[in-house]
Symmetry: C2
Subunit: 442 residues, 2 copies
């Protein structure tokens, strides 16, 4: 019976701000970072998870995960497998930690939970999507904290959604092995020139991509010119999504986006504050009639906010993130909610390790929940794979392939880890501006 013998937590940061990769109106110079949690079992297997952050604060999450170690160390993997809702509930409803709200607490919780799921997948030698696909519906439903969700989706409804797909699962699985899961790419980081963005789009088009996202929000003239330039260069058949990263107020979002309504935009992402359900609803009511749809999720901190966004029609695309909430358990809840309200789940991939994780959720969604969907798009960013992960995500013809390695596929190259450990790694030693709280604050 495998027992957890050790848990290590590492702070890994990449100076992406040097090239403005990942830049948006609020995160102008992010250093894409990962808290890498490794759970070692007495069987020799290792469960791994990543929590993505933008640099400073990566250590806050690492500190928090470290404090959760006593909750898993010396427990058995079997007890986790028997009831994968139990550890989740233990952390979520911890008498004292619960006071901390979401944010760091929920992210740390997700880091630990996701590493346990990875260990489980490794023990049974299945990729994460396959482990999830093979779970009995009752187990999935038992993973979820229903306390504050049942007014929008009951346990019974969730069970029914999952049971409906049981007989079709293997056919869907076979089909997906051929098609993969359709991806889109964020090419238009705020700090890049039009020319550089177009170069990147053309390179991705050659690899089968036909959907791209651009960062917008600070200057309507500039944005109009950029969108026009790119739309003309790539033609009308290519999908364009926009992302404002919460830059606008509610009324401002409506005014701004009305001016961009003619450009055939697939969605506008985060037009306002991440937690402004009623604001999103008002924006949707104003923009949906013009053909503009809303997306959000990468900073939605709890399933309860997702519940409201999805069930009220405030968003038309749900962008789950693999490590913003409390791990697999929370994400499965949101995917089930989205299915009931017919909102496509288009996971967020802009980070380090996120693409590796979200494909599993997208595959599970298509096989077990929403069925194969013509409108699911899974974000892909084309950096921080080669040289970072032992098994980089496989993309062909603009789609994610179905991974076959056990677990999430988050094993990092030892040299990458060694060089990027913060602040001791060689990449950080001797830099003028270390990635910390004071760095880039203005």
């Amino acid at each position: 019976m495998p027992t957890i013998t050790d848990v290590t937590v590492q702070d890994i940061r990449v100076p992406t701000s040097d090239e403005l990769l990942g830049s948006d109106p609020f995160h102008k110079k992010p250093d894409y970072s990962a808290v890498l949690t490794t759970i070692t079992s007495s069987s020799g297997k290792r469960g791994i998870s990543v929590v993505f952050t933008c640099g400073a604060g990566n250590d806050w999450v690492a500190y928090a995960i470290d404090q959760l170690v006593p909750l898993v160390k010396n427990t058995t993997l079997d007890s986790f497998i028997e009831d994968p809702g139990e550890l989740y509930q233990t952390i979520l409803n911890h008498h004292q930690l619960r006071w901390l709200g979401d944010g760091v607490f929920r992210m740390a919780m997700g880091g630990m939970i996701n590493a346990m799921w990875d260990l489980w997948a490794k023990e049974v030698k299945k990729p994460m999507w396959k482990l999830l696909v093979d779970l009995p519906p009752e187990t999935v439903v038992g993973c979820i904290d229903w306390r504050h969700l049942e007014d929008a989706l009951s346990r019974q409804e969730a069970l029914a959604i999952l049971e409906k797909s049981q007989s079709k699962k293997s056919a869907f699985e076979e089909r997906l092995k051929e098609t993969g899961v359709k991806a889109y790419s964020t090419a238009g980081w705020l700090g890049l020139t039009d020319r550089k963005i177009l170069e990147k789009i053309n390179e991705l088009k050659a690899n089968g991509f036909d959907a791209f996202k651009l960062k917008v929000g600070q200057d309507i003239k500039f944005d109009k010119a950029r969108i026009q330039f790119i739309r003309e260069a790539i033609g009308p058949d290519v999908k364009l999504m926009l992302d404002a990263n919460q830059f606008w107020g509610v009324d401002e979002a409506i005014t701004y986006m009305k001016k961009l309504a003619d450009f055939e935009i697939t969605w506008i992402e985060e037009p306002t504050a991440r937690d402004d359900v009623m604001g999103f609803k008002r924006i949707s009511e104003a923009l949906n009639p013009l053909g503009l749809k809303l997306a959000a999720g990468e900073q939605i901190q709890s399933p309860v906010i997702f519940k409201q966004m999805i069930s009220s029609g405030a968003i038309q695309f749900a962008q789950i993130d693999a490590c913003r909430m409390g791990g697999v358990n929370d994400v499965m809840a949101v995917i089930l909610l989205a299915s009931k309200y017919d909102v496509p789940v288009c996971p967020h991939g802009g980070g380090i390790g996120l693409c590796n994780m979200i494909r599993h959720f997208a595959i599970w969604d298509q096989i077990c929940v929403a069925g194969h969907s013509g409108n699911q798009l899974v974000e892909y960013i084309d950096f921080l794979q080669e040289g970072v992960f032992k098994n980089p995500v496989e993309i062909s013809n603009g789609a994610y392939g179905l991974p076959s390695n056990p677990g999430w596929g988050l094993e990092m190259e030892p040299d990458f880890v060694k060089n990027h450990i913060y602040p001791e790694g060689s990449v950080w030693r001797g830099r003028q501006e270390p990635s910390g709280v004071t760095f880039l604050a203005d």
Copy 2:
């Protein structure tokens, strides 16, 4: 020109779980704790703040505040006074930290901001309420992050609210000096017996209190019996409030509270999830016609959630907390929002140091914002004052007095600090069950 020469952050915990003080359905055994931040100025003055937590996790917040020190160390107090919105914006919109969401990040931000405000008050030798009362309306409005609030309250509307009270301020101030600010007390902690609660209520009644709060939610029979017992003992003229601490789902809250509608309940607090604006709205629509009103706020993590709760009629009482959000700046924004929508602000005091802080906000609200209000009630808990704070909050005739000492009045007794520092203090040394992540987790 006073300069910040030093910032210290201390983890202080009290084993309140021994007596079940502070217990509720989710925090069954909290150890009331404080992150004590002390900012020392070259003038010799010290700015102090407290961030309240329930024990485990206090160190997470302490770690986070410690990381913010470079943003204030070696800056001048004058630069803070000149634009008290600047430091707030620097932290809130930090390119990298912003990714962390609310929770620990916003609480840590509040800890640092509130200590800077305290230093300011000390330098000008004013209690915090008086510093706030004397601020020009433009300065108050300049403290606030309006980006995501103006659809509910514009800068101009906030200015108008503040300007309207200017001519009446000194009259209000004189009147309040006589009456104080009406308080209520949470006497009915979940872990206590009916008899013990009644004893406490009678003791507080003798001190002029006529409004009390009880924890409910887990067992309707038990709650009915408790409320009936206490209502009969104290008579019909005394106000009773209930607090479910988010224990129910939306439909459950409606069903449960309908059964308690006959007991003349002033409010039901946190009937469901802290961030479920639409759920609160549905519950309000069902219960308001029965005379039952809703309160929430101690766990509302951002002004944007408050904006929705207040402007949509989802809550009828706004319970700001002094250190859940980003400090004075965020709290002033919520008090102004509440004023426009005629929602009384009834601050949350169940913690350590909270009573000391919230009275200042209540006084500012009454003098400068909402005017003297017949329905404002400020929470008071009658433990952790004597022997803890050098200047315990003064209560007489069921009301908070107007404090005259400079700042928040959070100076702690040196012996209390020494003995309660976690985990080295004498209170914690040698205990079987230290206040940590594993303690009381089940």
